[in-house]
């Protein structure tokens, strides 16, 4: 029972798993870098 509680407690509030949340953060970063690059090119 305590093991089960710990498992529930360590689940992120959305997306279901930590791997998915980490991927979300990384994907956002990659998109931002791409956008910043395009932004720099488009307006320079």
């Amino acid at each position: 029972m305590p093991e089960q509680n710990k498992q529930v407690e360590d689940t992120p509030p959305f997306l279901g798993s930590w791997k998915k949340i980490y991927s979300l953060v990384l994907i956002e970063l990659i998109i931002l870098i791409a956008l910043f690059y395009l932004f720099t090119k488009a307006f320079s």
């Binding site: 360590d10 509030p13 930590w18 980490y22 953060v25 910043f36 690059y37 720099t40």
Partner: protein
């Protein structure tokens, strides 16, 4: 400043201070005082982490940095989301499992007492000085705007923060951070929309962005690998990741924020939300700076943005020469303005010929500014020639409508108070937990340690105030703080990474490696041109490498400690 601005400024600031005191004055024990009783939800942790990092320096220097140097400073934050992920996987579970009050407690559990003390002292030295900067920055603005004596302003500002941080501890810090972040966000967006509204009288938003780009202010990404260039994609990705790992993983002012979370999930989410939000937030602040630059293409900016130094030179022996330079600068500005209007009317913003002429005029203007700075220096040899920090505040005070000036000043003040309170609280916890309780007085009651924590908060507050009083001539503030951090962060991070990722390296090895690495970092700072972001990498890798190399020779004599 108008009465309405005063009401807005005093209203917001007074509310935060009184709210902090009212909500937390019944703090009963050390756990509540230093970790807010471990009751914070992830969104409070996230806001608190952001509020701690977003000091007044963020508001003052960052737009000015974009005005002078373009948006490339955003690359400094590229490593932040990566660092948030690494810390969520490594540091958060370890701290949570060991139930520590400070990050340095872990070093004793993994290595030995001397490493804990070394980590604590490096932190106390660096953060103590940084706390001085965070009080100094807004005091500087208020003294320039209101004509107050800067020393009186620093003392007044410092006392306000000391008051609620001493009474409520970490609990007060976290609770006030929520409102401070709200004011900061509202202030930031208000500034952004107002500048767009002002510009629309002369040009469209897209044209304004093109003008900023053509004049080299939208250089957000630079993939070139140049070690002597301070802000590139690579320095941000590699150096920035190391710096952020160190700041968020080993600096107690940040570690305390997620140690206050209810559980490991809330700590992780707080860090990861910061990873999602921080880079776009910095981009927006820098973009505001780029738009302020465009705004000053239509309105003649002061030749030098620091009004105190301008008045000094104008009332001195170089008055006539300075006024002539101002006239010359005005003529060039007018020429630039006409050229921009022509570009817009002819719809020729993308033509390279116009861009060349525009950049040539900009260059001429910069040369005149350099001449003006030289006069200022001759007039007053101790004058600070870096006016980056005055650019955004000049725009706020002179061009924003009544009410908004008060709001923006309240946001700057909130940002300063949020960082300072977190710093004082973390300095107090490290002094109490890692030094006083561990080394000096081990068997005190909870109430004794609570009282000592409060005394330590007051003590560090006074120390920060005294440092702020002498912080006048250190150039761009945000860079000074980051440079200061980079001098010790790499070594601290090296100690922690060795602790997290190795099992056989002993306390003796890592301690010797840390001392050697710190000396190498200091040598690099004083005797080489290596940009400061790389000190984090150098310090960290050296600790790791040297401790690995010398460990086989030292291990035989000492005990290996591991934490499963």
């Amino acid at each position: 400043m108008s009465t309405i601005d005063w009401i807005v400024l005093c209203g917001f600031t007074g509310f935060i201070v009184l709210f902090g005191i009212w909500k937390t004055h019944k703090t009963k024990n050390v756990d509540e005082y230093l970790r807010a009783g471990k009751t914070s939800s992830w969104w409070v942790v996230a806001l608190s982490i952001m509020a701690t990092q977003a000091s007044a320096i963020t508001f003052l220097s960052t737009p000015g940095q974009a005005y002078v140097d373009g948006m490339r400073f955003v690359q400094f934050y590229i490593g932040l989301p990566i660092a948030m992920i690494i810390l969520s996987i490594t540091a958060v579970p370890v701290y949570s499992k060991l139930n520590v009050f400070t990050a340095y407690e872990y070093l004793e559990k993994r290595f030995d007492l001397k490493n804990r003390v070394l980590g604590s002292i490096l932190f106390l030295t660096q953060r103590g000085l940084a706390a001085g900067f965070t009080i100094y920055a807004p005091a500087l603005i208020l003294s320039v705007i209101l004509g107050w004596d800067i020393h009186t302003t620093i003392i007044l500002m410092g006392f306000l923060v000391i008051l609620y941080t001493t009474i409520g501890g970490s609990n007060a810090v976290n609770k006030t951070h929520i409102f401070q972040m709200i004011i900061i966000t509202v202030g930031m967006f208000a500034a952004f929309f107002m500048i767009i509204a002002f510009l629309s009288k002369d040009i469209s938003f897209i044209d304004a962005t093109h003008i900023a780009g053509k004049m080299g202010k939208l250089n957000a990404i630079d993939f070139s690998f140049n070690l002597s260039d301070r802000y590139t994609f690579w320095s941000g990705l590699i150096g920035g990741t190391f710096l952020m790992l160190s700041y968020f993983g080993t600096d107690q002012s940040q570690v305390a924020r997620y140690l206050a979370a209810k559980n490991i999930t809330q700590s992780r989410m707080g860090l990861l939300v910061n990873g999602l939000v921080k880079v776009p937030m910095q981009f927006i602040i820098l973009f505001i700076g780029a738009m302020v630059f465009v705004f000053f293409q239509f309105v003649t900016p002061p030749l030098f943005f620091n009004p105190v130094e301008t008045n000094n030179v104008k009332s001195g022996n170089y008055s006539e020469q300075y006024i002539n330079l101002e006239k010359e600068y005005g003529l060039i500005h007018q020429e630039k303005k006409n050229l921009i209007s022509e570009m817009i009317n002819k719809n020729s913003i993308s033509e390279s010929d116009y861009q060349k002429r525009l950049l040539a005029l900009e260059q001429k203007g910069n040369e005149i500014r350099d001449e003006a700075k030289s006069l200022i220096k001759q007039n007053n040899p101790s004058a600070d020639l870096n006016d980056t920090n005055y650019i955004f505040i000049t725009y706020i005070v002179n061009y924003l409508p009544v009410g908004l000036i008060g709001l923006l000043l309240a946001a700057i003040l909130a940002a300063s108070m949020s960082s300072t309170s977190a710093e004082l609280n973390s300095l107090s916890s490290t002094t109490m937990v890692d030094i006083y309780k561990r080394l000096i007085y081990k068997n005190g009651s909870d109430q004794h340690y609570l009282r000592f924590s409060k005394i330590a908060t007051v003590g560090w507050g006074f120390y920060a105030i005294i440092f702020a009083l002498f912080a006048n001539e250190l150039g761009s503030l945000i860079e000074a703080v980051n440079i200061l951090g980079s001098l010790v962060y790499g070594t601290i991070l090296g100690i922690f990474l060795t602790a997290f990722y190795t099992k056989k390296i002993t306390g003796h090895s890592v301690f010797i490696a840390a001392i050697i690495s710190e000396l190498v970092v200091l040598y690099s700072y004083f005797f080489t041109d290596i940009p400061f972001l790389w000190y984090n990498v150098i310090g960290c890798i050296l600790v790791f490498l040297i401790s690995s190399l010398i460990n086989p020779f030292i291990t035989a004599k000492s005990k290996v400690k591991t934490i499963s």
